[in-house]
Amino acid sequence: MRILLVVAVLLAVGNPVAGGNSLAAQRPSVVRLVNIAGPLVLNGWDRDSVAVRGAARLTVSGPRDAIRVDGGQAGNDAAEVFVPRHARIEVRGGGSLDATGLDGELEVSAATGRVRVEGALRRVVVETFGGGGGAVGNVEIVGPHASVEVRTPDGTVVVRGVRGELLVTTTSGEILVGAARVRRARLESVSGAVSFKGVVERAGTLEAQSHAGDVELRVPPDVAATFELAAPSGTVGSEFGDGGATRRFTTGDGGASIVARSFKGRVSVVKQPGADVDLNASGAAGIR
């Protein structure tokens, strides 16, 4: 039986809270979760406290403004952790992660399973690497986050609804970006396909590149941008004009800078009305 234990503990600086399934009555600005071996569900809530629910035995400790939740690398039980939604959350290591309801910062490093983040965070950074079980390398970031960075060697990266800055870099993974409105975006894959559907703000930049994969951009028909499309050993196609090996052209009065390159794949630009509108909020299917 899963029981939520609420044990209010006023912590002295550096004084650990013994045992798992505890709540630290704190006002933390940073919550660090380490060594969580099993699946982790992270929920943002309006309280200034941290709570743990689930079968996993976690230790909550830390100074007054930085709580540490430690899994001790033992077991593979699922854990559900509640954290202040405005806090900065750091997750290091572990398996799969599902985070919702956050609007502060989230930094995930060395994750070896699937990562899904939904909310409206100021900043999201996700680094995954193969090495564990489950759907290794799949990352899904959903919501009007202001800044998103994803680095992964493989797997599929889906980013939907981002507002602001976006960096996705992968070696063999596929990148799917939908319903985006970006000021600055860089999407890079070595062998995977890159797909972007969205709006590049005026004076904004978008750079989408793949060595071997296709690069497809879906932008509004009235986009004002300078385009630079190239596929030295591939093909280029654009609904904004004729194709060719390399194409440079401007639409409207310019403003944004859009670059798409693929060494040996196909580069295409498609007119997409409502490109930044999320028509389908149920996953990657809504992007294409």
């Binding site: 193969g130 090495g131 493989d154 070595v190 062998s191 590149q209 030295p232 060494f263």
Partner: protein
């Protein structure tokens, strides 16, 4: 020898002397006992201590073998001499050396992911290099080459940040 004349009266006395004399008691056994080093019995704990030392040494060797790749084992990655040198080459070499050193403490899946993706990157680098050799002034190929080089560094940095077991 003296040249003085011999006294004939001494001859019978000399002839009467015994040809050998037995000592009053046998001293040799006592002397032999003093010459022979003392032989003490081994302490009972000595074999146990020796076994313990051997066990510890064996454990240390096994740990070392598990952590470090064998001399003949395949490296995590190699630096392809045909790939053009980029500004991050020195940093990459250091990262690779670090990963080789820690290969035993990374999971097999992690090593496999690293090798697989480095192979993809190195293949792309070789392809870009050939294209650049044919068309050295091609800015797009240069940009794509930089992308792949950047990805190689990023991948190695990511692997270097992974927790060790």
């Amino acid at each position: 020898m003296s040249d003085e004349p011999r006294d004939p009266s001494l001859d019978p006395l000399v002839r009467a002397l015994p040809t050998s004399i037995e000592p009053p008691r046998d001293l040799w056994p006592d002397i032999e006992r003093r010459l022979t080093p003392r032989r003490r019995g081994l302490p009972r704990w000595l074999p146990l201590a020796a076994a313990l030392v051997l066990l510890l040494l064996g454990g240390a060797v096994l740990r070392r073998l598990a952590r470090d790749p064998m001399p003949g084992a395949a490296p995590v990655a190699s630096v392809d001499p045909t790939i053009p040198v980029d500004p991050s080459a020195g940093a990459e070499r250091a990262l690779l050396a670090s990963l080789e050193r820690d290969a035993g403490s990374l999971s097999p899946e992690t090593i496999a992911t690293l090798r697989r993706n480095l192979a993809i990157i190195d293949s792309a680098l070789a392809e870009s290099r050939r294209a650049l050799a044919a068309d050295p002034g091609n800015g797009d190929v240069q940009a794509l080459l930089r992308l792949v080089q950047r990805q190689r560094t990023t991948l190695l940095q990511q692997a270097a940040r992974l927790p060790r077991t």
